[in-house]
Structure formats: C-alpha cells, structure tokens
Symmetry: C2
DNA sequence: ACCGGAGTTGACCTCAGTTCAACTCGGTGC
DNA sequence: GCACCGAGTTGAACTGAGGTCAACTCCGGT
C-alpha cells in the first residue's frame, strides 16, 4: 500500500523535525510507527534513504505550497508566493526546520534535493516578477536572498520578535535591494525593469503605519 | 602537548571539509593522523566532541581573520572585513564548507557555535558601520544578510562565475538594501544614517543611474 | 633508582544499521 | 475448492563503527 509510505514519511518528518538525524534510531522510527525494523527497509532502502525521502517530500510540499494563484498579476504573485512560504514556515515549523537545518553534514543527495527546491523557488520568483536572468550576478543575488530568507525564518521561528507581515516586508525589501545590487554590478538592459516591490509611502516618525498590507496586498 | 591537538584539529578540518560527518570514521581519522583510536578520545571526548572542536576552531579562525585594521575609518573597515571574509572563503574553501554546510542541524552544540560566530560577525559589521541596532527588524535583516552571504559563498565556490570583487560589491549592495529595508519597516531615528556602502563610480555603457537610490525606498 | 602523570596503545564491548530467510494473507487462474 | 503468487511483514542474526579501559611507554622531578 502507498498510504503506509505516506504515513512513514509524515512520521519521519515529525521525528527528524524534533531530533537530529543520528539521534533518531531505526528502532525509534519502527516503534513510533508500530512496525518492524525490516519494513522500513522494504519501503525505503535504509535509514539514509529514508531521510532523503522525508526531506524530498517536505521540499515537494513546500514548493507546492507556494504555487501561485494564476489569476494574480505577476508582481502580486511574487508577494503571494512569499506569503505562502511564510505561512508554511509558521504552520509546519518542524518540517521547515528539518528542511533547512537538515543538512546532515552535506550529504550530496540531500544537498542536491535542497538545491533543486531552491532553484524551483528561484525560478518561481523570477517568473512571478516577469523576469528571466540567467546572468551570474542575478542568479547569485537571488540565491543569496533565498539563503537569507531561510536564515531569517529559522531565527524568526526561534524568537518571534516581529509580526509576520513585517518579516514579509523586510524580505521583500531585501529582495529588491539584492536585485538592484545585481543590476548595479551587471547592468543588463532589462526589458522589464526591476519592479518596485515595496511601496514605502509617506514614512512618518510613527513606526506603526502599515507595512505593505496584510497577507496579500495586490496593489495595482 | 598542545601541538598534537592543533594537528588533529587541522586534520579534522581537512577530513570534514572533504567528506560528510558520518562518512568519516574514527578509524579514518586515527589512520590519517597516525595515531590510535584511543588517543582521539584522550584529547577530545569522542567523535561528536571532536567535530564540535573542529568547527569551533574553524569559526574562531574565521572570526579572527576578519578582524579589522583599526586604522581604517568605520565604513572602510566594513568593506575590509567583508573582503577578508571572502579571502578566507577562497583560501580555505574546505574549512568554510565544513563550517557552513557542516552540522547546521546535526547538533545544538554546533548550532550554538555557529550562531555565536555569526553574532560576532554581525556585531563586527555593526561596529564597523558605526551603528548599533538592537531592534528586531535590523537584527533580523542583518542575520538574513549573513545567511545570504553564506549561501552566496557556497554557490560561488562551486561555480566561480563572478570575479571576487563583483561578489563583494553584490554583497555590499545587498547589505545596504537589507538595512534600508529594515529602516523602512522600523524607521528609528538613526544618529548615523545608513551609510552608502556601494560607490558605483563610472559604470560602463549602462542605462542606469546607480542603484541604491531607487532600490532603497526611503532614503532619509 | 624510584615515582607520577601525561601520552599512547590495542583489545574488547556495545549497540545501531543492515540483511535475509521465512511467514502471513488476500487475490488469481484453473 | 485448491494451488499458487507476490506484496507486506517480521524477527533473528550479522556487521561494523563508536566508545571504554587496563596497561604500557616515556620523561621530568626527587
């Protein structure tokens, strides 16, 4: 049955989200799932392969979760995507932690899975912005930004010292800064200019004028 | 003697920089160092503790490597610090890989060591910029930026598709963008304004005015 | 010469990951 | 009804890596 596989993946996500890879034994998994050790080897090749499967599945879910609403115009899609990303981070903090902190000492398989997911997210964002940059500076800027988002999310989950919409605005502003920085370094002639993601508006002394908006503002 | 300890740390850095944690056995280490297994347990508590020691040592070196030249004025110190950071990344790619890809998740000890090093770097940069922000938005923006720098460096080491000075400029631009974004979100009255880090100078044929101004909403 | 302790070793122990032969059991063909 | 089949499942046994420890070697101090 395939549901057993899904059940094991779900369980694995919880276990690996809570404790580190080598602190979770096969016996732990088997016991928590009420199955025998051997069955895990039937469904997955071994512990390592199981872990890879768990991480892959979580990455798949994350990428799926930020899938755009095709009705929105491109720039708003990017915003909605990031918002969905943060929602995932918030709701499934364990899964997210397993993903990002999960490195497992740089297992190439894991690294490849994560890098692939990041690439998909990057493509996603580029498409949502209506841009397409194969140029190194832009690619690197975007890659760095994604790394920054991950770091910020992990930190944010631990501290929670900023409302989510502020975090969203912060990340969007950083994205704009990163893309602008890439543009300064490699000033390719864009058919579409780097869009203005954050609309600062009149910035008074009061720190409480609303950041872009709540969850999904589509301006324009 | 203490030199043996240092020798083992150096060796560990090479080994863990090349292969993943659990692909390096105690016997491997012992054999590579021409010592017996037991001796490793004499100097360090065990494999895990050894790994923590290796990472800590590498982090210490990195933080030491970006120590500022006190003669430079603050903004230039920040630039010099980032330059030194990139130099470290380039020269000791293995050590850097061991640090960043290392055990982000593996172990709370490791996470603590790395987070401490990042904190030091962040303080470093803040001091170099002549700023001091305990406010969440700035802290988070800086933390995200550091995560971005790490991601960019790992990617850059793999691809090498940008000259180092361009990478430096890219990162500096992103920093400025991140800080500006934090400022837009939490507009505290800074005694010292966010400094202009990137001095674009005469750029090629480009159709652009240099980025910062429109990358950064609210320049005040 | 004796002592003591740091440095060092190798045999041994333990336990987690892995393998595998065998058992159940619901469906299929005859 | 019956033999068969293959997926699902199990538990015992194997293997190898991490960890322990009593003992040995130096070597400086008394």
């Amino acid at each position: 049955m395939d549901s057993r596989r899904a059940q094991l993946l779900e369980l694995g996500l919880r276990l690996f989200g809570t404790r580190a890879y080598d602190e979770v034994s096969i016996d732990d998994i088997a016991q928590a799932a009420n199955i025998s050790k051997g069955l895990l080897y039937h469904y997955f090749g071994g512990k390592r392969a199981f872990y890879v499967a768990v991480v892959s599945d979580a990455a798949r879910r994350l990428v799926a979760a930020i899938d755009p609403d095709p009705h929105l115009p491109p720039p708003a899609r990017a915003l909605a995507g990031l918002d969905a990303y943060l929602a995932f981070v918030e709701q499934r903090a364990d899964a997210y932690a397993a993903l990002v902190t999960g490195g497992l000492g740089a297992d190439p398989k894991i690294a490849a899975v994560l890098e692939r997911a990041r690439q998909q997210i990057a493509d996603h964002i580029l498409a949502d912005l209506g841009l397409r940059f194969p140029r190194p500076a832009y690619r690197l800027a975007l890659r760095a930004w994604i790394g920054g988002v991950e770091a910020a999310c992990v930190d944010w989950l631990r501290r929670r010292d900023l409302p989510r919409d502020r975090l969203l605005a912060l990340m969007l502003g950083s994205l704009q800064g990163a893309l602008a920085s890439a543009h300064a370094i490699d000033p390719v002639d864009l058919s579409v200019p780097v869009p203005r993601l954050v609309d600062p508006g009149p910035q008074g002394s009061a720190p409480d004028d609303p950041v872009p908006d709540d969850s999904v503002p589509d301006e324009r």
